[in-house]
Amino acid sequence: MKLIDNKTKIKLFYEMLRIREIENTIASNYKFQKMRCPIHLSIGQEAIAVGVCQNLKKNNKIVTAHRSHAHYFAKGGDLNSMIAELHGKETGCAMGKGGSMHLIDIDNGVEAAVPIVGSTIPIGTGLAWANKLNNSNDVVVIFFGDGATEEGAFFESLDFASLHNLQILFVCENNFYSVYTGIEKRQNKNRKITKIARALGIGSYHGNGNLVENIYSKTKKIIEKIKKEKRPYLLEYETYRHLEHCGPNNDDHLNYRDKKIIKFWQQNCPLKTYEKKLRKENILNDKILNKMINKIKEEIKKSFDFAEKSSFPKKQLTFKHNYA
């Protein structure tokens, strides 16, 4: 595997840090009742979004699901229009009609995010099918969670992608929970997501989803493979959400997750561990880190000001856009 240069390492770190800071700000401002829509924060799961998306170009399309903030930002989604969308303002990416669960930034390849579990998997497959019909070599990335692999849409899409040699990178972020229901209550322990892919003729790999460099390098290799072989591929990464399924808080007092396991994943926080690693390699120090944080905080502040100043959509917009 090719070594990652320092510039890329800093970029990987910066992108994760930026997402974390944005998500933390959303969480801490949520109580002010200005962002009144359900939110599914990506805190703890940033490495997969960043590791994968750093390999993508602007025109590469991604589709994602309810926990989409990290994907949106990692793919270059506009910060102002996202924060405005959460505030329900007219300047939001969907003019306030979508909220946190329908982020979109066509110019930056964020084609779709929807909260119905597994529903964007076939839509992403259709985008890749169009690429094939148009003789395009672009790869489509489809992000989804472990719960989505229980949906028929998952199987139907993998079957078709395999049959028609579609250039799709399926990325499963396995955080072990579908809301409060653990994977052990939903899937037989011998049922492996990677094996399902292989049974449908699709190559697959399973790895630690909190190691951003590994994800970055692996994705780079796999995207080359997808383009060369003109075949889909599935990556499954294990990761963990730090906060509650929906909302800004920690919900571990509900005792649906094992305390020891929570602790394990907190210690393996993708951002903290990477910071430690980069400090050890003398790539990162307090000065650089503070500079980064200041820059990000400035940008976030501006986006919240932008949202605050923006107007709510006017009444006539309620009925607009039902039809093209």
């Binding site: 969907a94 003019m95 929807v114 076939p122 992403g124 259709g126 169009a130 019909l133 039809y323 093209a324």
Partner: protein, 352 residues
């Protein structure tokens, strides 16, 4: 032998698809069996030979392939999906209701889903509970969808061309019993506007509001009614969403007597909506409205029971009699219900 100016309903569907595929290379035809030897009751027969790269047989994965079609549409293609019966589309309701219908809205118009879903309604010859449902009302309930229901070869071709060219998801209902009907169909490309109904026969005594197969039943009933000296106005809705409210109100204002002949269950049905519409818009003591539709039950396979479920021309005439306070003598001689509830035409030997 058909006259040169005439064509079968199923051929006019095929002609519309062929013509749109010829004119627009983005049009894609897909569905289980699209290119099979029978070609979806003849409606897609051999189109794969004309456009081999744009006709796709598919895995039996309705929800999946509806999503694939949405993806294609987002990338600028124009997919036409065909289901051999309405009921198979129920496996794809998430993609139709949650995704396709809302895409333009939830992206504030940044992206639209231009696609057609052809749904074939079954009836008779023992098709039973899961192959005979008329579920138009469910689809017509959803903002973001357009719903059209042709009743003859002319509006079938014109409405399908309009549907394929539309920027929105259009649900295109074809009644299986109409496939073998024939009528005048121009060879050229023409459009029947979505959202517009049509007065098929002008009349002064009563308005019969109908769509899809019930148009045929109303036309049959109309002949008998004229024999009894009654002149019904026949309003073919053609589209259920958008609904041609103005035309309905205009005709109802004129005749003041309305019978709605629903192609599906009238309970919570299309006829309920139209009744409300008329009542909300016409305040007249003379106004009288009734409706008739499929009765409130699952639809049995056996012809012995199925005949009790559907509306037919005799029931239509009896309802008209109630509304106009008239009795028709010797009506029995027109009663052909055993045949009409089970077979689309007398020499039909099945199966569908």
């Amino acid at each position: 032998m058909l006259k040169k100016t005439h064509n079968l309903f199923r051929n006019s569907i095929r002609e519309a698809i062929l013509r749109c595929m010829k004119d627009d290379k983005n049009v894609i035809l897909m569905g289980l069996g699209t290119d099979d030897p029978k070609g979806i009751f003849g409606t897609t027969k051999d189109i794969n030979k004309v456009f081999p790269k744009r006709v796709f047989d598919l895995p039996t994965a309705e929800n999946g392939f509806t999503g694939f079609a949405i993806g294609l549409a987002l990338a600028g293609k124009k997919p036409i999906i065909t289901h051999q019966r309405v009921e198979f589309s129920l496996l794809s309701i998430d993609q139709i209701f949650n995704q396709a219908a809302k895409w333009n809205y939830m992206t504030a118009g940044k992206k639209n889903v231009s696609m057609v879903i052809r749904l074939i309604i079954g009836k008779g010859w023992g098709q039973g509970p899961q192959h005979s449902q008329s579920l138009e009302a469910i689809f017509a309930h959803i903002p973001g969808l357009k719903v059209v229901c042709p009743s003859n070869p002319y509006n079938a071709k014109g409405l399908l061309i309009s549907s394929i060219e539309d920027k929105n998801p259009v649900i295109f209902f074809e009644h299986r019993w109409l496939h073998e009907t024939f009528g005048k169909v121009p060879k050229k490309k023409y459009r029947v506007a979505i959202g517009k109904g049509k007065i098929l026969k002008k009349g002064k005594d009563i308005t019969l509001i109908c769509y899809s197969l019930t148009v045929l039943e109303c036309l049959r009933a109309s002949k008998i009614l004229r024999y009894y000296g009654i002149e019904p106005e026949i309003l073919d809705l053609q589209s259920l969403r958008p609904l041609d409210k103005n035309l309905i109100i205009k005709s109802a204002k004129k005749t003041k007597k309305v019978l709605i002949v629903d192609n599906g269950w009238s309970f919570y049905g299309i006829s309920s909506e139209i009744m409300s519409l008329i009542h909300e818009n016409i305040k007249s003591k003379e106004l009288r409205i009734e409706r008739i539709g499929v009765l409130d039950t699952s639809i049995p396979s056996t012809r012995a029971l199925a005949k009790h479920v559907y509306p037919n021309q005799i029931l239509i005439i009896k309802k008209v009699g109630n509304l106009l306070k008239k009795k028709f003598k010797n009506l029995k001689k027109f009663d052909d219900n055993d045949f009409y509830s089970d077979q689309p035409y007398k020499n039909f030997l099945g199966p569908f």
